[in-house]
Symmetry: C2
Subunit: 245 residues, 2 copies
Amino acid sequence: MTTPDNTSDAPAEQTGVAAQDWATASADPQYRAALVDLLGALAYGELAAFERLAEDAKLAPTLADKAELAKMASAEFHHFERLRNRLTEIGEEPTQAMEPFVAALDGFHKQTAPSDWLEGLVKAYVGDSIASDFYREVAARLDSDTRELVLAVLDDTGHAGFAVEKVRAAIDADPRVGGRLALWARRLMGEALSQSQRVVADRDALSTMLVGGVADGFDLAEVGRMFSRITEAHTKRMAALGLAA
Amino acid sequence: MTTPDNTSDAPAEQTGVAAQDWATASADPQYRAALVDLLGALAYGELAAFERLAEDAKLAPTLADKAELAKMASAEFHHFERLRNRLTEIGEEPTQAMEPFVAALDGFHKQTAPSDWLEGLVKAYVGDSIASDFYREVAARLDSDTRELVLAVLDDTGHAGFAVEKVRAAIDADPRVGGRLALWARRLMGEALSQSQRVVADRDALSTMLVGGVADGFDLAEVGRMFSRITEAHTKRMAALGLAA
């Protein structure tokens, strides 16, 4: 996994909530609402990722490749389980918390169904990497208990590493493949941004929390900066992979 | 999970190999060949089950139901991992060991794609149960190391229990559903038997081992009795579920 080089422009200071545990932080109903949203979005994101990776495993040219994608799918399922269990622990109905994010995530996957194995690999890698970046971005804004959970899930990502080698080999063998996959990677990122913006627009409490604190209210520019950092990290990764984005 | 009532006619004595560990037992090349076949068949069976359960999860009417089927799929993937790792440990190429069983297992799943959620549940339950019965039948014929692995995998089945309750509720709500699902369960078993017989006919070493020992040669009648025991257990389970088989 490539670590995104976003240390320079990421906010270094932690907001007050980062020093609190869940019991303290969740006394603020707005923080609580934002967290339920976040856990619901992440949980459904992982469940949908499970489903799509399992589906894309069908495109695998060999049994060993199929097993690799199935392994990623299974890892996503375990992430889902942890997030769902946390929702239950804090007294929320997981289905209800996930429901608001079904349309955006299903929309993303519907718009980005890979048409072949290489597209599936690029999607697995891009998806895994963006998810890592987002988990890392969001971790700093969370109470200590939720942060621990999010970092634990993050720690278990990076299953897509196998994809890099295979994509590189395919581009070496036929450089035209690189052009097609670069377009594909751009489409993945575009669709991810467009669905994220839909969520940002719909879910005020979540969006406000994501941009660092309730006090200052909703800061669209800061959401934009977070998206930029993630996009930039994506662009660097694609370049490293031999895909000019 | 219902335990099949096959204590009366199952062979009670263990063959000589059951007292041996893998190192000793595998010195016999015919036993070794049979075991590589068995592990290959079980491994691909689990991988294919993963893939189909993940696919059938799409039919789920609720997110909670989808998560239940995804959980089963993920459990099957972990079974696959253990069996594949064992193949690697004993110096075999997992893909090569699985290859001979792809056609039969894919054939089974192709012929039994559920057309709705209830059919998917019945298939998950029937598949899980038949697999348990088969693992239990075969365990007694294995060297101590392989037996331990097979029993460990078996111990982790039974994820389909949730299906029973839902199928029963559906039949209570509309008894005609029972007739349709009874037909479906019969078709599942028929297709499973037909694909198994194809494997038995193709893979001599495996078949000979399955019926208890290399010494007496291939005993088709004993294979038949094993299939009968499994079919009988299936029939009892279906009756308990309210499906007259």
